[in-house]
């Protein structure tokens, strides 16, 4: 490229106390280019983008836009410099409306005094229309589901008509069809000359829409590559610094029924769900967003109460009026929203791990810390916690490692039935493989596992059998033999809305700047 790049990182370093998140990162993105940013959890992707969007200030180095160094001292300055950002963690205010959230910090006003609410809603609706026109800009944000909230977050970035759009895992909660529309939007941005930085752990997405990509590991740039000329496998090995074995599914299911659910229903979303779960089995649950999968898991975990139906474990009916009942019966939930429902941020890894099995660690009322430490070390070694600091507050760990601690929690509690809700959301390929491996190991040991996932390849990779949910009920049961993305999609989509399949890859035609 002879022209001055739209965006240039020059020798960016970022030190947190005792942690080097970034070391001398340099690469550039041209106008009209869609640039992937890849790396494992904790590689420093979010940190870099947070520097770009003015949330953090770099310890060293500078950012240039159109060849000129810019001072990105705070989010306002970054915005003024033409940067729009979609954050990894949803950054929204539940009590404000969708439109108010989208215009937060820079509202449209009448006469500079009053918020022009109608106008905001009109503009918000325009931006939303590109991805999900059903979202009402006047609805309180808190009433939206996670996926819709993520779409709002994306649409917000589109409002700005920015010169640089940075997207930090914008699709972690989105379905394939939503991703398709997003891909079109991103392609449109590129056509308008916007520089797009795109972070995702979903490599197929990155290969689908990005022209080039920068791969990071441990805070440094491994390489910047033209995606047309490298293979997915090569990129993965650059990310993890080793070859990842492509593992195949192996079943450990026995015929012994461990969990038997009959006619389970909740007051709101779940209707008449029945299924059996066997010892050593991994049962996948697929379905569209809002089809009631999370709610079903919450019923099984005792977090919500069922309005009717029975649950039996090993042939004995159990009462599930709160999570303690479920835990006592050997059921544990690895929840979807890790930050909200999973971790106690200020507490250590050990404390977070031990939370569900305090009775075990304190048989006589006083916690046996020696034993707790020993068990924590053992379980965290098993899930391969990194860094291996058991006394460090969990909030300082990456999402993947937080997830490992939560899994460790159930291992320590002796749980026999594990419910995973979106187990790898926001988790990189390396840790993802570890978690897949772990799930299989657990099954092999005789645990029974339920995996809810919106990523069809994940379901297909893990599940011995798949339930497809639609409108709160089981629409189909697919054995391994019948398992395919098409088959799942066909059952998941309500008949009226059924459209042409679920092709995940969208050909982005103008890959010019590569």
């Amino acid at each position: 490229m002879s022209v001055i790049p739209r965006l240039q990182f020059e020798g960016i370093s970022k030190m947190f106390p005792a942690v080097r998140a970034l070391g001398d990162v340099s690469f550039s993105v041209g106008g009209g280019e869609i640039h992937g940013l890849l790396g494992e959890n904790g590689a420093g992707k979010s940190t870099l983008l947070r520097i770009l969007s003015g949330v953090y200030r770099p310890t060293a180095g500078r950012v240039l836009i159109d060849g000129r160094p810019v001072a990105l001292n705070n989010p306002v300055a970054a915005r003024a410099a033409g940067v729009a950002m979609i954050h990894q963690e949803l950054q929204q205010v539940p009590h404000l409306s969708v439109a108010q959230n989208m215009f937060l910090g820079h509202p449209l006003t009448r006469g500079g005094i009053f918020v022009a609410r109608r106008e905001q809603e009109r503009r918000a609706a325009e931006a939303l229309a590109a991805i999900d026109p059903t979202i009402d800009p006047a609805a309180p944000l808190g009433s939206l589901k996670v996926a819709q909230r993520q779409i709002v977050e994306i649409a917000r970035a589109l409002l700005d008509r920015a010169r640089i759009v940075a997207m930090d895992e914008p699709t972690s909660s989105l379905t394939p069809s939503e991703f398709e529309r997003l891909a079109e939007v991103i392609a449109g941005l590129a056509r308008d000359g916007v520089a797009v930085v795109y972070v995702s752990h979903k490599l197929d997405e990155v290969f689908g829409i990005c022209h080039r990509a920068t791969i990071m590991r441990d805070g440094v740039v491994v390489d910047s590559v033209n995606l047309a000329r490298v293979s997915e496998k090569a990129v993965v090995s650059m990310m993890v610094g080793r070859e990842l074995a492509q593992e195949q599914h192996r079943s450990h299911a026995s015929s012994e029924v461990r969990l038997s659910v009959r006619g389970l229903a909740s007051a709101t979303k779940v209707h008449d769900v029945s299924f059996d779960l066997h010892r050593g089995e991994v049962l996948g649950i697929a379905g569209l967003v809002g089809s009631g999968r999370t709610e079903l898991l919450r019923l099984l975990a005792g977090a919500d109460r069922a309005s009717s139906g029975t649950v039996e474990i090993d042939g004995r009916a159990i009462k599930l009026s709160n999570p303690r009942d479920a835990i006592a019966a050997g059921i544990g939930l690895v929840p979807e929203e890790r930050k909200r429902e999973g971790i106690v941020p200020l507490r250590s890894i050990s404390s977070n791990m031990a939370l569900a099995s305090m009775g075990v660690f304190a048989p006589r009322g006083v916690i046996d810390h020696t034993r707790l430490k020993r068990v924590a070390a053992e379980k965290m070694k098993r899930v391969n916690l990194r860094p291996f600091l058991l006394d460090r507050p969990i909030r300082l760990f990456s999402g993947g490692n937080q997830q490992k601690a939560i899994i460790g929690r159930w291992l320590a509690a002796g749980t026999r039935i594990l419910l995973f809700d979106e187990p790898t959301r926001g988790i990189d390929v390396g840790v993802k493989a570890e978690i897949y491996h772990l799930i299989e190991e657990l099954a092999a040991e005789g645990h029974s596992v339920v995996v809810v996932s919106s990523e069809l390849p994940e379901v297909i990779r893990l599940a011995d059998r798949v339930l497809v949910m639609r409108d709160g009920t089981v629409a189909a049961e697919l054995g391994r033999a019948d398992l395919s993305e098409q088959a799942i999609a066909a059952h998941a989509i309500p008949q009226s809305e059924a459209r042409a399949g679920t092709a995940r890859h969208v050909g982005v035609t103008d890959r010019t700047s590569g």
Binding site: S53, V76, H87, V93, L104, V115, G292, D471
Partner: protein
């Protein structure tokens, strides 16, 4: 999309308005019930004169509670409103007694309120201290300053002209009531219609998100405390106009009444939520309780009991009508 999404997306506009007014309607119903009970038990309770009394007696608490509501929405709390009012009162009053022109003396009182609020705000927003503790500290500090300034004595002999400003009436309503009504209207407009109102809700609702969206966090918080200080100063002016004297111990325990009014009106001490209409209703509920119990000659220990129980009852009703909050 599926049922669910359609469901949440359905009746969206109505939903928002709806949620808003349901909560306030709950408070209103509470007020109506209390009014009805007292009306049945106390002869002459509904006399125009008594109703005006109730409004007048609620006006000072309402004025403070409005400021408190904004602070609470921003995720804070202001325990120092009483002493702020006292400091503002004694300084205005001693200027007035010394012959300083009214507008100047009043302006000085307001300035004191703003400065007290500014200090609270800076300690909370820039220094990052917990609002409860900051204003607990300034509660003592401002009170001490008022006492030291006056040597503990009341400032007496306010000019009649000054008293007339806050003590008159218009269209048969006490001016104090009208002033507070206007303040409430302004507060409502601020909260519902201006960027600052959105900022308050955002800062209290999710500070990190607000920061990332470019909301000026510190300035928003400071402004909330300054408004609270200003309204405390306004309450002080109204009160000394009424009383004709300013005492350094004025405003004792005002903060609790103001917080109670805001909470009864639906403000959440977790921040991000609160209603101007609700707060005004909350203040009137508390005022009505006092008035009605007095007219029934309820002994003070039982009045105290009733005050405690009404707060609990209001919150219970709130809880039942609205879900956890």
């Amino acid at each position: 999309m599926t049922d669910v999404t359609e469901h949440t997306a359905a009746r969206p506009r109505a939903d928002f308005l709806h949620r808003f007014s349901v909560r306030d309607a709950g408070t209103l119903i509470g007020l109506v019930v209390i009014l009805a009970v007292f009306g049945a038990l106390v002869p002459g309770f509904f006399a125009e004169r008594n109703l005006i009394n109730i409004l007048q007696q609620s006006s000072i608490n309402a004025c403070l509670a409005l400021g408190m509501t904004l602070v609470i929405i921003s995720g804070g709390i202001d325990l120092s409103v009483g002493p702020t009012a006292a400091l503002s009162a004694v300084i205005s009053a001693s200027m007035l007694v010394a012959g300083v022109p009214f507008p100047l003396a009043i302006a000085a009182g307001f300035a004191i309120g703003l400065v007290c609020g500014l200090l609270n705000g800076v300690l909370v927003a820039y220094v990052g201290l917990q609002p409860f503790i900051v204003t607990l500290g300034t509660l003592s500090t401002y009170r001490a300053l008022a006492l030291i300034y006056t040597g503990g004595n009341p400032v007496l002999g306010l000019p009649a002209g000054f008293r007339a400003i806050f003590n008159g009436s218009l269209f048969g309503l006490p001016l104090a009531v009208i002033i507070v009504a206007v303040v409430a209207l302004i507060a409502w407009v601020i909260l519902k219609k201006t960027p600052f109102g959105e900022y308050l809700l955002a800062v209290g609702g999710n500070e990190e998100a607000a920061y990332i969206a470019g909301v000026p966090i510190a300035r928003t918080k400071i402004a909330a405390y300054m408004i609270s200080g200003l309204l405390a100063a306004l309450a002080a002016q109204i009160l000394i106009g009424r009383l004709g004297a300013a005492e350094p111990i004025l405003g004792n325990l005002w903060e609790l009444d103001a917080i109670a009014a805001a909470a009864i009106g639906g403000a959440s001490l977790m921040g991000g939520k609160g209603s101007v209409v609700g707060t005004i209703l909350g203040a009137v509920i508390l005022g009505t309780m006092r008035n009605g119990l007095t007219l029934m000659n309820v002994q003070s220990f039982y009045q105290l009991l009733a005050t405690g129980l009404i707060i609990l009852a209001a919150m219970l009703i709130d809880r039942v009508t609205r879900g956890r909050g």
